[in-house]
């Protein structure tokens, strides 16, 4: 029921007034006028009176009074039939209601501070409409009800146009029975019955969509759509309800027109001179009820926005004062400041220099680890990696590079052969899960004939890398002769298993830092103890813990590619690893890696970069150009991928991709960084800055 000035504070739905009184014990007004076209408002009236609130009048639009009106009159309440609200009056809120009988035999202003309006119930067809059902009109209740279901849903009760309790219980019981039956639940043989309730006669109702006034009357309170807006829409030619809806935004707010749609349709129907079923309804959209964003977020906020993955040695790093960094879901130590005053830059420099001088230890548990079994394991790895693994001897490890199907580099890692039919593979931290599903796909879909099995072993084993000239001495002291780590017993790229305090342990002689280095794996539960054992034993050799930053500095000094270079746009050849591509076997990515554009000599190639003025710093992301005064995307010859302030070289160094870079060692280009107005002249060099012969690995 749309009344003039119904935006004045104090004009409320009759059912809302009742809820305030019944449920919350709050009186919405001291003098509440009730206007209605059905019986429901009488229930509100009785509640108000029993709560001691004055009801000066009930204006009932129906021409004759029924039992409810008689009862109200018996209680001494004034009931006017065939009577409509004309407008709400008042300044800051309701102070009067102007009533009018249809034959104008009565026009009266009645003082009140609240108006309870009841225009009848509109079945909530939003959900069935969302499921695709077009609601159908029922003249007896002046509302839309669901048509036959399209999906496996059923409507029961008020949303189905059944408003009395006995009817709701009956329909609900039957719908529940049918649903249970459809879900395959075996129903008891003895048929039950719906709970009983006193039957009540259905309420009569007359159509009152718009009060007789001509002022401002809101239809959709949420989207500020008035009765005049709908008339205007019609005059503008929006005769279809779909057009009218979009023109006026009627029913498009988060309430999806729960109280406004049927009034709006009726007003449009009146303007068109049609009946309501001819005009029809629009499709209701979610939300069915407004949903708080917090409900969608649920648990996933703060530290649980993503789960956190912790190493077995996490508490040790905390104790050592590590500053952590997120690498994927893992938390890894970034660096270990010795005190509050040590800056990150100084700590990184100290750690990187310290490893090369004496020894350092680093938690490498986060690397993806995959165990591969089976008579075809060797063949499987041969197809995954660009280089060969079939002839890898038991007890040896090898660096492997894999491509995507499109020929670009996907991931790298070191894979060891533990037995003839048993390999232990490692992946980068970032790609661990991706590589495993890549393998699953190829094993299940592409090559189901291969007899191979594999699974993640990332968390079974935790790993510590010990690197530096004193690495062997540190471990000898820590392991107390449990394993012979001499060059003869454990040569570079060798792998051995041994028993460490009752635990199965594995030692790999591999190096990311370019120093003499070992990686030791023990089962998760031994990780903390192993770290502490090595750390204590290492003190007499000046062993230090180092984090991901120092790890990064040292790998840049050695020209090892990592995430910044494995950017999904680079080929093995771009990285200077083209010679690893086996010509004796097929592997994933081989055919597409031979496309013309992929094999182009002029593609950007991995190079080392040194500032000519060694005091200048380099920046990752800088572009490489011939002429700093003509630097733009057309003249860019490549870019800087990784930079480090290198203790070993004594200046900033960088890795980058440069067109034809492998043929330009010794020449100069300029690294421009327009964001900071910087340009640095750099010399192109071998990406392996430190110990290019690899002597230190074999010490």
């Amino acid at each position: 029921m749309v009344i003039d000035n119904n935006d004045k504070p104090g004009v409320m739905l009759s059912s809302a007034v009742r809820t305030y009184v019944d449920r919350f014990g709050v009186a919405p007004g001291k003098k509440i006028a009730v206007v209605t076209n059905n019986d429901d408002a009488y229930l509100t009236t009785f509640q108000l009176v029993s709560a001691g609130i004055e009801v000066p009048v009930i204006a009932d639009a129906r021409p004759t009074s029924g039992d409810m009106a008689d009862k109200a009159r018996e209680m001494g309440i004034r009931v006017e039939t065939d009577c409509l609200p004309h407008e709400a009056q008042g300044y800051l809120g309701v102070s009067n209601i102007l009533l009018q009988r249809s034959d104008k035999s009565l026009i009266e202003k009645i003082a009140c501070d609240c108006i309870a309006v009841s225009g009848g119930y509109s079945p909530n067809v939003n959900l069935v409409s969302q499921s695709g059902v077009r609601p159908v009109w029922r003249e007896d209740i002046l509302g839309f009800v669901p048509d036959a279901p399209i999906r496996a849903e059923r409507s029961a009760g008020a949303c189905n146009g059944t408003f009395d309790l006995a009817g709701c219980l009956r329909e609900g019981y039957e719908a529940g029975r049918q649903a249970a039956k459809a879900a395959g639940v075996k129903l008891p043989r003895k048929k039950g019955a719906a709970p009983q309730a006193a039957a009540s006669a259905p309420s009569s109702i007359v159509a009152v969509w718009r009060s007789p006034g001509k002022g401002k009357a809101f239809v959709d309170f949420q989207n500020d759509v008035t009765a005049k807006d709908i008339e205007l829409a019609h005059r503008e030619g929006m005769v279809s309800i779909e057009h009218s809806k979009r023109y006026t935004t009627l029913g498009m707010a988060t309430d999806q027109g729960k109280t406004s749609n049927v009034n709006g349709l009726a007003l449009l129907a009146k303007a068109r001179g049609d009946d309501i079923p001819t005009v029809g309804t629009t499709r209701y959209r979610p939300p069915y009820v407004p949903v708080a964003i917090a409900a969608f977020a649920g648990h996933e906020r703060g530290r649980h926005f993503q789960p956190t993955r912790l190493s077995a040695m996490h508490t040790v790093h905390e104790k050592l004062g590590a500053v952590f960094v997120e690498t994927g879901l893992w938390l890894r130590p970034r660096y270990y400041p010795v005190n509050d005053r040590e800056t990150m830059t100084r700590a990184i420099w100290r750690e990187a220099a310290g490893v090369r001088k004496t020894a350092g230890m680093c938690d490498v548990s986060t690397l993806g680890k995959i165990e591969v079994f089976g008579p075809d394991a060797a063949e499987f790895l041969n197809r995954l990696y660009i280089n060969g693994f079939a002839k890898l001897a038991v007890g040896r490890a090898r660096y492997g590079l894999m491509l995507r199907e499109d020929g670009y580099v996907y991931d790298d890692g070191t894979t060891s052969r533990l037995a003839e039919d048993h390999y232990f593979m490692t992946t980068t931290t970032a790609n661990a899960a991706g590589v495993l599903s890549h393998m699953d796909y190829h094993s299940q879909v592409v090559w189901p004939e291969l007899d191979v099995a594999f699974c993640s072993a990332t968390e079974q084993w935790c790993g510590v890398a010990v690197a530096g000239p004193q690495a062997r001495n540190v471990l000898d002291a820590a392991f107390d002769g449990a394993i012979d780590m001499s060059d003869e017993a454990l040569p570079f790229m060798g792998v051995r298993e041994f028993n460490w305090n009752g635990a199965q342990a594995r030692i790999f002689r591999i190096s990311f830092s370019g120093e003499l280095a070992f990686e030791i794996n023990v089962p998760w539960g031994y990780g903390k103890a192993m770290w502490e054992c090595i750390y204590q034993a290492g003190q007499e050799f000046d062993l230090i813990p180092y984090g991901t930053e120092a790890l990064g500095v040292m790998r840049i000094e050695k020209g090892h590619v990592a995430g910044n270079e494995l950017d999904g746009r680079s080929t093995a050849q771009d990285m200077g690893l083209g010679r690893m591509m086996s010509s004796k076997k097929p592997f994933i990515g081989l055919p597409l890696s031979q496309r013309e554009g992929m094999a182009d000599e002029m593609r950007p190639r991995l190079v080392g970069l040194k500032p000519v003025n060694i005091k200048q710093r380099l920046r990752g992301g800088a572009h490489l150009v011939e002429d700093k005064n003509n630097a733009n995307l057309e003249t860019s010859l490549g870019w800087v991928t990784s930079v480090a302030d290198s203790p070993a070289i004594g200046s900033w160094i960088g890795l980058g991709y440069l067109k034809n870079g492998h043929n330009r060692h010794g020449q100069r280009v300029t690294a421009v960084y327009p964001l900071k107005q910087e340009s640095v002249e750099v010399e192109i060099c071998n990406p392996v800055f430190y110990d290019p012969e690899g002597k230190r690995l074999h010490d």
């Binding site: 649980h304 789960p307 699974c455 199965q504």
Partner: protein
């Protein structure tokens, strides 16, 4: 070498063994020290392997034996759990039993196992679990791999109480535990550790 203890993924919580009170709506148990192994049948040997170990090859169906519990992961793959044997002896026993028809991957340290029970346990699980855990669908022995709180979980319905085992990667254990504590915070929750035996 100084004395040290073998840690469990949730050791840092400082839980103790114990029995729940009658007030508990949700009971959580960190099951420690279990021997865990992932086993694989060689090509064409799935039925033979299942028979040799006395376990079911049916999907979503756990086999609970005196020596171990087997949860199927995919055709020809199971995760096996035993009381004790985390020192590698469970894996070794399986290797000897299986012989040449399959492979065993040692996983004893790789997982945290949280057992959840109590009258409100289904309400807690319903907050993140997308599986239908209604007793008519998920009967005792039901198992499945799913994702809860963005963490991969292998789930096993242990009994009709109901009791569930939730198996997740060790690295995520702290995060998962934090979620499950938050999800049960509205109820009376009691948490304990439970030793898997001293084998």
């Amino acid at each position: 070498m100084t004395e040290f203890s073998i840690l469990n993924p949730l050791s840092h919580l400082g839980l103790h063994e114990g029995k729940e009170t009658s007030r508990a709506d949700v009971i959580l148990r960190d099951r420690r020290g279990l021997g865990i192994a992932q086993i694989f049948a060689k090509k064409g040997k799935t039925a033979a392997l299942a028979k040799k170990l006395g376990i079911s090859a049916k999907p979503r169906t756990a086999t609970v034996l005196e020596d171990y519990t087997a949860l199927p992961l995919s055709p020809g793959q199971w995760m096996l759990f035993a009381d004790g044997g985390a020192d590698g002896s469970f894996k070794q026993m399986l290797e000897e039993r299986i012989g040449k028809i399959g492979y065993v991957s040692e996983q004893s340290h790789s997982r945290a196992i949280i057992r959840i029970s109590g009258r409100k346990c289904l309400d807690v699980l319903a907050k993140e679990c997308r599986l239908d855990l209604h007793g008519d669908v998920a009967t005792t022995g039901f198992c499945a791999q799913t994702n809860m709180a963005k963490i991969g979980v292998l789930m096993h319905k242990v009994d009709d109480a109901p009791t569930f085992d939730l198996v997740g990667f060790a690295g995520f254990a702290d995060s998962f535990w934090h979620w499950i504590r938050q999800a049960s915070a509205e109820y009376n929750v009691e948490a304990f550790s439970e030793s898997g035996g001293e084998k």
